[in-house]
Symmetry: C2
Subunit: 192 residues, 2 copies
């Protein structure tokens, strides 16, 4: 294998950093998956805050996610709400406590470290990581779970001067600015 030692060491460092970040997670008795669930709920749009979508996102099973959410619900980090349109379905959302807890997200600590390390300009690092992720996703043919506005179904500015100027042509739903920056379970990258 013609793998440069540098790339290998970079991979090693990424793993190590992530593990360090996760090590601090004993904090509020949250395990890594539970943190990820919180993060997901914080960033997902209102059509994607469902167990099934989260299961896809986590590459896990529905059963497991069901219990994860139940656990988080029990600790008061998330709350469930029935879906008005489909009575099989439920919506989850962060509670105030959940949002507050997220500010102690170990990933934030990592981010602060990066901030320091790069002297505030993480542009180069960011570009490379992004490209790396792109490769990784392509190889795994995993779902992207990208931002709404990068999706092929995103229609920008179809309703001017409203609070929901954008539109999703897949779900046929009006979208706010905030919506357009959220993670969407349905997101498919616009073909290059």
């Amino acid at each position: 294998m013609s793998l440069s030692p540098k790339a290998l060491e970079a991979a090693h460092l990424i793993d190590r950093l992530d593990r360090l970040a996760r090590a601090g997670e004993q904090e509020g008795r949250l395990n890594p998956v539970q943190w990820e669930a919180l993060r997901y709920l914080a960033r997902a749009n209102r059509f994607s805050r469902k167990p099934a979508a989260l299961a896809d996102y986590l590459v896990s099973t529905r059963g497991t996610v069901s219990r994860t959410l139940a656990s988080l619900e029990g600790k008061g980090y998330v709350a469930r709400k029935p879906d008005a349109r489909d009575r099989r379905s439920v919506d989850f959302a962060l509670t105030r406590k959940g949002s507050k807890t997220l500010t102690r997200d170990p990933l934030l600590v990592l981010a602060r470290n990066i901030e320091q390390a790069t002297g505030g300009d993480a542009t180069g690092l960011l570009d490379e990581l992004r490209q790396t992720l792109r490769n990784a996703i392509a190889r795994n043919q995993g779902r992207a779970f990208g931002a709404c506005h990068t999706c092929r179904h995103f229609r920008a500015h179809v309703r001017r001067l409203t609070r929901t100027p954008h539109h999703c042509s897949l779900l046929d739903e009006p979208l706010s600015e905030a919506d357009s920056r959220a993670i969407c379970a349905e997101q498919e990258p616009t073909p290059a």
Copy 2:
């Protein structure tokens, strides 16, 4: 908090990448900790291949590590050997099968992705990650587990023309070139 969005996104990407890498770990029935144990044993010097050191490295407990190693031993990836000097202690080492398995390390896949993303020159990425790790370790006051030759106890080239030219002033042990590049549980960075 004055945290740049870029640093935050970089942290997010690091986590995402690591999770992707770990996702492939179902492979040979090895869980993440077990992979890390294998990696550790591959890179640790011969004084550090002990359960206690591994426990520190993993920021875990000895009990857990004991079971992890027992499991790996059961599957034939590692073998134990009593320590001649201290009969309480045991040394672990990769078996041939363990070494072979490591070539399928999911981190290698990540490394290949980085290789692609950076066009082979991961120098900048590497520097930033390294600096980040340094910060993180400083904050966590965790042990460094750095390479032997970066240690304050490392004495280079004290025995010329031998197979063990270097020396560890802490353990008072001769060191080969290979030793000097291995991970050491006792490593303390040379003060800047």
